[in-house]
Symmetry: C2
Subunit: 330 residues, 2 copies
């Protein structure tokens, strides 16, 4: 049992912790512990002024317009760019103070973490409909780590019910790009009681860039925008983000490739005795009685997967460039 397993459980991508846990593993590590596309959107040429100048309001507006078009949001919906979805998750409990928060779980831990830190009572619920009993409800759609999805109709219904009591439904669509617009709540907005979070870095493979969006009613979005303040997003993130979000064919090809690779990874996992529990094209959740032993065996081979504490049978490798996996796994 690696000493620093906790560090690897908490979040994916911590290769430094992996190296400390498996000091004899071959380099370079293959990181299957995150839901980040391993084939990033090409950076292209970045204008020097993106680095040197404070980002101008009109450049930010163009980025947000690109996100609007890509997500299929209506003109009356507010889109707020931020330095990563995490920064929005940190702000939400401050901007919308809530006493009782319901989170549809088991899911990504940062929502609970941030609401608790702000003093909210957080409950994990198992059914979507249970969320109407809270001041704020949180759903990750598709869910991380099991890929469970929730119909936009059902989410809109919950949001409407919450809105009647001044409540808010937060829908974290971090992995939605791989599923397509029809699965997303974004085209149904604005709804007074709904806020959608969209991640840029995962599907575009550029999580170091720090870019994410909140999509909401003008009132809710405006509150977040004022909280975050000016110049929140870096010049390079604005420039690359805008370019990527207007490149529909890249996204289409990427989703097709990731879907193929996910299927190939499933076959590989099944051949090793895993049962596929769920996932999205960006990650797979697979179950095995001896999942922890597999995690350690992979770790010794320099492949970082993700162990789950809550359900120790699970391992979560993402869809990799499959050649890598074949090469090193066997």
């Amino acid at each position: 049992m690696p000493e620093r397993l906790d560090e690897l459980r908490y979040h994916g991508g911590n290769l430094s912790a992996a190296r400390r846990s498996f000091p004899n593993a071959p380099e370079p590590w293959i990181d299957l512990s995150t839901g980040i596309n391993p084939v990033p959107y090409p950076l292209g040429i970045i204008a020097p002024s993106a680095w040197t100048k404070l980002p101008e309001p009109c450049a930010l507006a163009e980025l947000e317009a690109a996100a609007r078009a890509a997500g299929g949001a209506k003109p009356s919906t507010e889109i707020v760019a931020a330095p990563g979805t995490q920064s929005l998750i940190q702000w939400l409990p401050r901007v919308f103070p809530a006493r009782r928060v319901g989170i549809l779980g088991f899911t990504y831990g940062e929502h609970e973490e941030c609401w608790r830190a702000a003093g909210a009572q957080v409950s994990t619920v198992e059914a979507l409909a249970d969320l109407i009993a809270f001041d704020v409800g949180v759903v990750v759609n598709p869910n991380n780590p099991d890929g469970r999805t929730f119909p936009p109709d059902d989410l809109a219904e919950i949001a409407k019910t919450l809105a009647q009591r001044g409540g808010l439904l937060i829908v974290d669509e971090a992995f939605m790009d791989a599923l397509g617009r029809r699965s997303s709540l974004v085209p149904r907005l604005p709804e007074a009681g709904a806020l959608v979070l969209r991640s840029f870095g995962k599907i575009y493979g550029l999580s170091g860039l720090r870019l994410g969006f909140a999509v909401a009613s003008p009132q809710v979005g405006g509150m977040l925008r004022r909280a975050i303040g000016p110049w929140a997003v870096s010049g390079p993130a604005i420039e690359i983000g805008r370019r990527a979000l207007t490149d529909a064919s890249w996204l289409e090809e990427t989703v097709a490739r990731l879907t193929d690779e996910a299927a190939r990874l499933d076959r590989l996992l099944q051949s090793a005795g895993f049962e596929i529990v769920g996932g999205t094209p960006l990650f797979r959740l697979a179950q095995h009685k001896r999942a922890r032993a597999f995690f350690e065996r992979l770790g010794r081979a320099g492949i970082l997967s993700r162990p789950f504490q809550a359900k120790p049978d699970f391992a979560r490798p993402v869809a990799p460039i499959s050649a890598w996996l074949y090469q090193r796994w066997h």
Copy 2:
């Protein structure tokens, strides 16, 4: 009188607004409206993983260690990197709720803006000692826009007094790098009642990168770190920031050059009838009875300076690459 003068007053660097106000001005614009070094730190080569991977905790720790060494902070002082000082200014009123806030003015407007937005009563005071009457005191040192400086001894005294009542002195050292360590409060920390903000983008000429630091006691710094959350700073900002902050000779040469250029700019302004009111090597504050007419004349020539509403006699051009200025001003 340009229609959009308000946009240009509010913050520097809004070239889009400048273009709208002076549609016939020659391109490219020369931007003297910000306190940003026009000769940026060289970007160098950025590792692909800085873009693609979530920034690892150890990389962030290395950046913060570089900031510690550069600022002369003690090992017991907490340094918290953030995506720009502005993001810290946005968070401060949420992390340290205060009823009564005193700001030593006339100064950078975002401090007042953010405390008011959070519901605090904000007063502008004229003497440093007046700040002890508040829950939170704010000083910009050196002050923007007049370059007024405050001895670290005096600031430490105020912080001690505020700490006795659980208060906090916030010292915004956004332009301190051009003055040197002896003028800074950072080496005197930790003090329970003091928090220093340091900007990266201004002296290193990379404000689009979004990088800034809070320097404080472990308790105060820890509260800010938890509020901001993980992965707040982009991978490129971590990499470039670390490199720049360990390059002492670049900083030394830059300060020497900016100091020379500021003197040259002063002579130029004086020859046009301006009185130099103050400044730092990164910006100058100059007074003229017809400053607004000069602002407009410069604008028509494609040179953006900064007009001040509170004191309409002032214009604030920063130290430019002086050849540019000579060429276009005459």
